[in-house]
């Protein structure tokens, strides 16, 4: 049963896209990834609208003060096992917003980041590599199941 769950989870990981004050560059590239040219959905990956259904959460943008609390709330709503992917340089190091009064540090100050994809914005091929790596991590992680 455990094996079946793990296998099925890795075959259809649903991603949730979380924007914490991004400039929309990475968001547009992620949308292009789900479009016909780079078609991420052939791997069973689907963009979901609610964090409660998600397996992989893709975070873009430096964590702004306003979005920090909401981000933490959304991350706590995602059932285990979850994989956090930081997309672009913003969640990695705040990029050009470093030291701003309304930016609350890089993402790994608040949560555990599994895969970081660098670039500003990253090329869709690199994004795809990163998300496929996240799927691999999801398969490894699938031990504890704390759904519900």
């Amino acid at each position: 049963m455990e094996k079946l769950l793990r296998w099925s989870r890795s075959k259809s990981p649903w991603i949730y896209h979380l924007n914490t004050g991004s400039c929309n560059g990475c968001d547009i590239e992620l949308m292009a990834l789900l479009g016909p040219k780079y078609d991420l959905e052939r791997f069973g990956i689907k963009l979901t609208g609610t964090p409660k259904h998600a397996d992989i959460v893709v975070v873009t943008g430096p964590v702004t003060t306003k979005s920090k609390d909401r981000m933490l709330r959304i991350l706590s709503q995602i059932p285990e096992p979850k994989v956090v992917v930081s997309l672009g340089s913003c969640p990695m190091s705040c990029n050009v917003f470093k030291g701003s009064y309304c930016v609350e540090g890089p993402l790994d100050r608040w949560t555990h980041v599994d895969v970081s994809i660098g670039g500003c914005p990253p090329k869709p091929e690199a994004m795809m590599e990163g998300i496929l790596q996240a799927v691999k991590i999801l398969k490894e992680k699938g031990g504890e199941d704390k759904r519900g």
Binding site: M92, K98, C120
Partner: protein
């Protein structure tokens, strides 16, 4: 045929292959003059610090270690906070910074995303300046 627009294209597109790129499993080559991973040539760098001045996200740091009669300068390029704007390459007087086509910056631990290089800079030999002899004209 003429009254229904795009019908010709609709029929044509049925027989066309899918738009999706087949080479998903490997990274394709980036186009010409793509700004990717930074490559730093430590042998031609002079440590002028111009790249640090023009870098908007403060991704470049310079560390100076004082040795005996010379300095060990380490330039660290943090690719995690780079915006790949190519300003450092444009402003480098010795052309020691290059932005390559490599764009695969995927890592599980972000602390190993950097480009680093160190070189030894010789300090100019200090010549002890002799105090100029004061010619004091004695007033008589």
């Amino acid at each position: 045929m003429a009254k229904i627009p795009f019908l010709k294209y609709a029929i044509k597109h049925i027989f066309m292959p899918a738009e999706t790129e087949k080479r998903h499993h490997k990274l394709v080559e980036a186009p010409e003059s793509y700004r990717g991973k930074i490559k730093f040539d430590e042998n031609s760098c002079i440590g002028c610090g111009m790249c640090i001045r023009v870098c908007a996200p403060e991704a470049i740091t310079k560390k100076v270690e004082k040795l005996d009669g010379e300095e060990k300068v380490t330039m660290n390029f943090d690719l995690g906070s780079c915006t790949f704007c190519k300003m450092c390459e444009d402003f480098c007087p010795k052309k020691s910074i290059k932005l390559t086509k490599d764009y695969s910056l995927i890592t599980r631990d972000k602390s190993n995303l950097y480009e680093r290089g160190s070189f030894i800079k010789k300090l100019p030999v200090k010549v002890e300046k002799k105090a100029p002899e004061k010619v004091i004209e004695e007033k008589k």
